[in-house]
Amino acid sequence: MTTALLHSYSANVPERPGLFPLGDGTNLPAEWQPDPRQYQPAALPTPFARAEATTLVLEQSAPGEHPLFDQFGWMLLGVVSGVLRLAPDDLRDDRYDNFGKALLQVDDGARYFSRVVWPDGASGGLLFGASYRTCLLWPHARRVASQWNALAQAIQGRQSEALVLLAQWREALRRQGRWSAQLVAWQRGVDATLGNNVATDVDVLRTGAALHGPVWAVVPTGDPARPTRAEPLYLPVLDPGRFERFRDLLQSTPRRAPDGSAVELADAAGAACARIETPRVAADASTLALGAGNLSFGQQRGALGEGAPRLAELEELLEPVRLALQKEGRATDAASVRAGIGFYPDALRLLDQVKEAAAPADLILTSRLQVLALRGIRVPTEDSDDIASIDAGGKRVTLVDRVGESALFELRALGFLLFRVFSGELAVRDGAIVSGGNPASFAGGAMIAADAKHPLEPSSALYQAVAAAPPSALARRLALLQRFVATYRSAEPMLDKAARSFATWAWGTGTAVAGLGKRGDRALPWRVAGLELRLARDPLLGP
């Protein structure tokens, strides 16, 4: 008869003395699993014992069963509600001296971490814990009950909004396939913290929150060969109106901060109304890890600009942030940023959202319309005589005569071009609009842009022409205008509306021109920027 020379081992022991495999020979025998309610950091053989214990507790326990679980929840809600602030940092920095080096000896993957600080607490800046990739956040060893209570009270007024935001953040990650409570301990902890709070939308996340960090966190990858991986992740922080505020500040002047540590958006008084971090770091350090792309707002003292947002300048200044992301293996094209909410710093995320709002993914707008959209003016989607779209390879080229109080007369301008062809002034040859064998022009330049980015965009000269009063000679050609309107009545809505818009303007009375008389054949193919539009000549002109 044999006995295992082990404390509390009741599984089968072979009859022959000597070595035998424990359990399956690899995994912890079930009877040795510690009670998750009794984990104590002191007993874990690592300096990251508090992080390790928090991970184990989140994996196996539940709120109320272990102080670490509850403190995790308070820290998380503290960050999301904006009471606690994440401060990215680097263990290799000299500030951490030999302690940092010792920690890196144990785990060099812990190099980049975020301190979790309460900046407005009674002590004027109190560390509540820090981040770690397996537990997301771990609590301070020396915070006492009164301090945790004070934190809970500070969160209380914003707790319900924080839970909504946190649920949306989870939903955003879930939609990307980056959520699995079975695989990732901290995600189980977030699920428990959220309880019954479930989100089906991400609207608050997109417009009323910051995404701050990063925190290096283990996330699911969807790859069975490597189910999880530590990646930089941005945590949500309540900030109502953030998107609009950022969008409005794009009117200001982008510039580099004097010390090079940030990009600023400056108002007319030179005050930095917004600051986008571009930290200056040691050669072997990661700017992304240390907060590149984090956005904060300052005090506006002067007026913002009136013109179009200076996006190109801002994009150029933010190129280091994109490079930092690419260095971490993150694609930075619009589609990736848009699809990867939670994995990109705020500046890029919001900038992409502004551009997306200005140019919804499925629409191609003229540059004038884009400027208006960047200013927050909504591109109308309802059908009216003032807007028309035409399909161009999956996207819809959109022209607008009027949006809100802004007059663009884009349809009218297109109508002008159609009229010049209809009247015989211009011809269509080999898919192009020509005048006497040469490409058609107006006021010394092209009438319409013909590139894929801005197909059918009227030139400035054409825009000015149709914005002014019509030449009186046009009003004397009513019959021609009537045949013109009649011809395009059965065409695509864009051509129909363009013809009617022009005719109404040309007639000069403000009333619509009826479509009457003989209709021309729309047999003239005009190929422009991937589109093919069939134009017509006045039938009275003959072949």
């Binding site: 035998f20 002191a42 940092g100 000896q105």
Partner: protein, 463 residues
Amino acid sequence: MSRTLISVGGTGQHVALALARLVYMGAVRNDVRLIALDPDNESPLPKLLEAPAGMSGDRHPLGTGQVHAPFDVSRFGDASFEQLFVDEHHPYERELFEAMFDEDMAGIPVHKGMYGTPCVGATVFAEGANGATFKTQLAPVANATQVFVCGSVVGGTGAGIMHKLVTEVRKYFQGPMYGLFMLPWFKVQAGAATQGAITDATIQRNATHGIKYFFSHTIPALTSSVLVGYPGSEQSAVLKPLTLGAGDMGEHPHYLHLVAAHGLTRLEEAHTANRSVKAYGVAHDEAHEDWLLANAWEEPRGRSLRQVIRAHRVLLNLLRFLVAEKQKNAMLGYYKPGFLTGLFGGSRTAWGDDLHKSVESAEPTQKQQGVVVEQMFGELEQLEREVRLCVDWAQGLFPEALLRLPQGDPMLDALQKGTADQWDAIRKTWAGKAMPPKPTGKLTGAEIARHHARAILDEALKG
């Protein structure tokens, strides 16, 4: 083949001492080289390991028994844990340290040990692993064929250091690395805990956490490992519960240390038979508790541990006889005429001509022969201490009923009787085994002693 044993903490030293005895007796091959780590190298246990029965330097069965602190002790002296890291010039460092460790941990005087706090042990070790001293200590593993790390998963030092040690060793050594891990093997006396000393509750707490951590993090980094601990409340002839006073830092030999040493000799074979198994326990035969005595271990001629212990007991008896005052004076009297000769006579009949020839080989003139014989006795006395270290240990682990040394053994029987029979046994053992002069240099008395003691042992091993 060269095996390096890295022992960690007090438990590691206990297993190392068990192995030192087994190597000394020839039950385990003499290719084990020790690197011993413990912040405390002043207590009786590390002092014993450094020079068991006076065997230090090249004489040590494990190459060396020097116990090294895992951090540069000369630099930090008696600093507390916190003082190893925190200073007034680095406020962020202080802030992070205080976040990770509470006040009690911060105040641990780590030069005395880790007070059963593995997270402190792990951090102190990480600091030491940064230093040149530690890198120098570990460098020899690069020459090893196999590495064994040995210690407790319940104390502060062993448990705290073990995982990081394994990963650190991997920087120098990519070959097979095995673990010998001790689970709780003793209890702490209740009610007598001094500040910071380990308690039973600490041991149990550390055991549950340590095993969990071990399976999650450490096992995957090792080729395979064996875990050994005291099985609950069982008691038997060899399984004796051990209760230690708080802060007791002496040696307390236990059967489980022998079991751990047995693991060192079996893990390679077990791994070859089944490479998928990473963690082993040891099954103990309750009906035949002498099963380890019946095993052959690594003795080159396949003798059992029982036979090896028996032979050393024979040797011990004869050495004790030889170095006893009466016998010693008789020999010295013969080789130092003019003083003792008158009292004890001038005959060497008792010990025979063969020993005398060895003495003559060392020194032809009688006057100088006295010096040689004095040297010889010095070495015999040292050998007696060494063999006693091993035999007493074995007799402490196994009762006589289990040692079951053969009855009717002429050699052993002779040892029970009077002087004449012992001299007879010795003369017969030494017959034809005189040492010739060395081709170059002089024979020393110590060499003569070792040669003739070896002759006794070889004869005893035949039995």
